[in-house]
């Protein structure tokens, strides 16, 4: 299934850094997010967009993750050549991630 089935998301921007939240609709799916939506996977999903590091922060109270992606906005919102200089549309791309629900999580 797609991440979109179990989580919602919002993108924010500061300078050349984009952050994307991934929030489980239901707390029972938070372990799936923790296990499968890793910083490495997010970086690879955004190949060609994110040039820098991706750091993941965990918010168990909210069943949410926050991904901070460096060098992700074409040099920064105020100077980017991109149509979506803020990267506001990036959250939708992340929700397209495949999530496995097999018992072993693979």
């Amino acid at each position: 299934m797609k991440l979109r089935e179990i989580a919602h998301s919002r993108t924010g921007d500061k300078g050349n850094i984009s952050n994307i939240s991934v929030i489980a609709y239901d707390a029972k799916h938070y372990p799936l997010l923790l296990e499968q939506v890793t910083a490495a996977r997010v970086k690879s999903h955004f190949a060609g967009v994110v040039q820098g590091e991706v750091v993941r922060y965990e918010l168990p109270n909210l069943s949410a993750l926050n991904f901070v992606m460096d060098q992700a906005l074409g040099g920064g919102v105020t100077r980017s050549l991109a149509l979506d200089a803020h990267g506001k549309s990036l959250s939708s791309a992340l929700l397209d991630l495949d999530i496995s629900t097999a018992p072993d999580g693979k």
Binding site: H8, A47, T78, L81
Partner: protein, 446 residues
């Protein structure tokens, strides 16, 4: 326990005005905050002020004030806003004029000045955070330097009796923290209260983004009546307790989901959200729905503020030239790709001097690039978009021109060509020792 209700009347400079009127009329609020100042806006406003010494404040200031002042005056609602942009004193004078013209001469209007720290930044030749270089190295490209002020001066203005407080650059959550400090007398070193107050301010600062705006996804996250989206109200207790709600009957929704998305919006490390007044910690925040459109938010904390203030530096970065043209029907994708290749070759043949170029198809790969979009199906129509960075306007114009010539020289049936060339005012940041910024409260007409 004492509680105040703070309405958020704008989430950006061009925001809708009727939801703010609705808040003032029906929101049972004591404070109305308008957050209208984007990252780059002060730099652009500074350019406007250089052309007109009485200008440089928010272009919608007059319309907003005329719409809400009569209601706010009648109900005793105090207004806090950063619509002063690059010229808070001129904005305050204008607001006082408007108040008089509306028959409300007793309204007290205060401006907060001192966020302009250009001279201090130049004197210190501070290093730029985003790239290698210093303030001095920007030379005559440097336009402005404005420190993100905290809530202190705004709270001081409210304590001194201001009905309307107009600042320039201040941290967005501080616009909301100021009323809390005013109403409850919170100490400026009570880090946990300031941290929880920052949670409230952060949640409210983008107005409709917590009441269902920037949220709807049909079939997954449905939101009713977005055309009549209501703006949020924060009910804050003197102990920092917080409920987010909105005017009954307005469009949109306040839910745990909208609050969670907004809590993490533009946040990096949730345990360290740097503010002028506090380093706020969102990592232990709890969010629970306690009624229809009522969400309780608790657990915000804080730690001692840093010794520096973030300063937003505006500078002329470069020029951007752009051109677009559309193709549709059978073979649209192939014709769009051919158009991109033709322009790529033309820019080389004609020696257009661009340091960076983007070639993309809107409808295919313009938002997320070719790799993320690789599995998309073939669209019915595509829009060619080519943009490039240059050192001067003349070169930037040539980029759009090469797209436009596709009309008569490019693939079949290209329509709707469009071009633009503009200078780019960008912003970068420096950290200024906080004692070098000297904010002051100035009442106008007093």
């Amino acid at each position: 326990m004492r509680t105040i209700r703070i309405g958020s009347g704008a989430g950006y400079s061009g925001d809708r005005i009727e939801p703010a009127i609705e808040l003032a009329e029906k929101g049972d609020i004591q404070y109305l905050v308008f957050e209208c100042l984007g990252e780059r806006t002060v730099a652009l406003a500074q350019q406007a002020r250089m052309k007109n010494p009485d200008g440089g404040y928010d272009p919608l200031l007059e319309e907003r004030m005329r719409a809400v002042l009569p209601i706010c005056a009648a109900k005793g609602i105090k207004i806090v806003t950063n619509m002063g942009a690059a010229n808070p004193e001129a904005a305050a004078r204008k607001t006082a004029d408007i108040a008089r013209s509306l028959g409300l001469p007793s309204l007290k209007v205060a401006a907060i000045v001192g966020d302009d720290v250009l001279d201090a930044c130049k004197a210190g030749d501070l290093p730029i955070m985003e790239f290698d270089g210093t303030i001095k190295q920007l030379g005559n490209r440097l336009l402005s330097a404005n420190a993100y002020l905290g809530a202190g001066p705004m709270a001081q203005a409210l304590v001194a009796g201001a009905d309307i407080v107009i600042t320039g650059r201040a941290s967005d959550p501080a616009l909301f923290l100021a009323p809390m400090i005013h109403a409850f007398g919170w100490a400026m070193d009570d880090w946990n209260l300031l941290g929880q107050g920052t949670v409230a301010g952060h949640l409210l600062e983008c107005a409709g983004q917590i009441t269902g705006g920037y949220f709807a996804d049909p079939g997954y996250k449905d939101v009713a009546d977005l055309a009549r989206l209501g703006f949020p109200i924060g009910e804050v207790g003197e102990d920092g307790s917080l409920v987010i709600t909105k005017v009954a009957g307005s469009g949109g929704a306040v839910t745990a989901q909208t609050c969670k998305e907004q809590l993490l919006y533009e946040v990096h490390d949730p345990a360290k959200y740097f503010q002028p007044d506090v380093v706020a910690d969102f990592s232990q925040v709890r969010i629970e729905e306690i009624g229809p459109d009522r969400v309780r938010v608790s657990g915000g904390r804080g730690a001692r503020r840093t010794d520096t203030l973030k300063v937003s530096v505006g500078y002329v970065d470069s020029y951007i030239g752009e051109g677009q043209i559309s193709y549709a029907g059978p073979g649209a994708l192939a014709r769009g790709r051919l158009a991109l290749e033709i322009v790529r070759e033309r820019l080389k043949l004609t020696n257009v001097a661009a340091s960076e170029l983007r070639f993309e198809l809107v409808g295919v790969d313009s938002l997320h690039g070719p790799q993320v979009s690789a599995h998309a199906g073939e669209p019915y129509e595509v829009r060619v978009r080519i943009s490039g960075r240059t050192e001067n306007l003349r070169e930037a114009i040539r980029i759009g021109n090469e797209v436009e010539t596709l009309y008569t020289n490019g693939p079949a049936a290209g329509g709707g060509a469009w071009k633009s060339a503009r200078d780019v005012v960008a912003v970068a940041s420096v950290l200024l020792p906080r004692e070098l910024a000297k904010p002051q409260v100035r009442f106008v007409g007093a």
